[in-house]
């Protein structure tokens, strides 16, 4: 609770942080929405193209925010030279990570709501058209985002400050093989098996299926959930191992001091 309060103070106090959390997703939505409308004007064969693109932008933002809620929160503590105070407080690493989950969830709800309202007002795209599938699709992206965030933070434990850029880069490294804006079939044959190892692929394919009127997406959801559970467990173990390795090498002390 104390850690959540701390993040609440940090985010509500800093106009620039709020700008960072809200500005980029909204700009993405506006720019990509306009591009999609333009393409629609050029070629109106597929009227769902705008919906696909706007849905993808809103959904990718969920993944990106969930990831950043862990990795960027960790970096902010590092930069403010406060991490040591948090590390030597009587809280477990799991509690520390869980507080970033909660903060991320709050951010995602707020930003997704703003984006959904804007998408409806500007482009008459209704995210609720996804109906009941919205919740499991959302949860799958959230879990994948948290796993990616823990993985990124573990890499910062391993490689130190030089790996900081990964906090922003990793979701975009995964994006081309996550079927965010296009179906897996568009990828070269040799890259498709890689895409099928990414939980987000099934979420975005599922989202497009629902928007195309296909209500049967249980297999997408199950595959995404199965992969998410596997990655969450594997990455939690990797995170613990990197933390211990950082303690043994003295890298943790160098990071937090």
């Amino acid at each position: 609770m104390g850690l959540c309060n701390r993040y609440f103070y940090i985010y509500t106090r800093s106009g620039f942080r709020l700008l960072d959390v809200i500005f980029w997703p909204v700009m993405d939505l506006v720019v990509w929405g306009l591009i999609a409308k333009y393409f629609m004007r050029l070629n109106s064969d597929n009227p769902t193209a705008v919906s696909f693109l706007l849905g993808a932008i809103i959904f990718f933002n969920i993944l990106n925010r969930a990831q950043q809620s862990i990795s960027v929160s960790f970096l902010e503590d590092l930069w403010s030279r406060n991490l040591l105070n948090a590390f030597v407080a009587p809280i477990t690493v799991a509690e520390f990570v869980a507080s970033t989950f909660v903060v991320g969830l709050t951010q995602i709800f707020a930003v997704s709501l703003i984006m959904s309202v804007l998408a409806f007002c500007l482009y008459t795209f209704n995210i609720l058209a996804i109906s009941f599938a919205l919740i499991p699709l959302f949860l799958n992206l959230l879990f994948m985002g948290w796993s990616v965030g823990m993985f990124t933070t573990a890499l910062i434990f391993r490689f130190g400050h030089q790996a900081e850029a990964l906090a922003w880069a990793v979701p975009f490294l995964i994006q081309p093989v996550s079927a965010v804006f296009y179906p897996v079939s568009v990828l070269p044959d040799w890259l498709q098996p890689v895409a099928y190892m990414v939980p987000a692929t099934y979420v975005f394919e599922g989202m497009r299926a629902v928007l195309s009127g296909n209500v049967e997406i249980a297999s997408y959801l199950l595959k995404a959930a199965g992969l998410n559970i596997f990655y969450f467990i594997a990455i939690s173990i990797f995170f613990g191992a990197m933390l211990n390795s950082a303690r043994e090498r003295g890298a943790l002390a160098k990071l937090v001091l």
Binding site: G2, I10, S80, R81, N85, P90, G250, A253
Partner: protein
Amino acid sequence: MAADIESEVETIVSVEKLHKSFGKAVAIDEISFQIKRGEVVGLLGANGAGKSTTIQILLGLIAQTSGKVSIFGMDPWKKRVAVLQRCNFSSAYVALPYNLKVIENLDVFAQLYGVSNRKKKIEELLQLFEVDHLAQKMTGGLSSGESTRVNLCKALLNDPEFLLLDEPTASLDPDIADKVRKLLAQVQAERHMTVLYTSHNMRDVQELCQRVLFLHQGKIIAEGSSEAILSHFGQETLEEVFIAIARNQVTTSLLSGEHN
């Protein structure tokens, strides 16, 4: 048997043959020491002597290569939360989040330490360190002296039985440093708190510490009261001892303290 139990209870920190190497570089070379309840022990040494590594091992930030550390009779890594609940830490080099008000920062840490009646506790500490007028000020806007005193408020929130202080008076002017020293001495005496203190300010150490551990190249080369150490090395001040050891101008034959 009863005496054994009493001795066990009274030893707050026990370090046995602690060794830490980073690859081939030895940072700490099988040091052993104990700190009893209510003692204020100074950990001194030149840069690279091993004092930061020792403190970081006690705080669970670095894992030792070999040897045993126990705080309150517990392994500080395996029983991390139980140990840290009864400890606290303050360093001139560790900040509180700059974009929170002083009162918000202290409230957050009071929650993390599970302090009951947080508001009253925070007010008491802010008054004790004469920084109550800063409660609504942003932490990032504090001067070094104010920041040090707010950090000390944070370090005393949970009434720690064992307090680690890493150069708490670094970067303070002599007036504020003197105030901080006197306040620390007062709080330590009132609460019978155990303190491990590192500083490059020998005046701090001479005034506050009942016992001093001198580290040199990863080994404890002298342990005892300031007077005993001065006498052993034939110097007038701890600063002279420090310089002589750092420059290898004295034979670093071991001076054992009363706890060895």
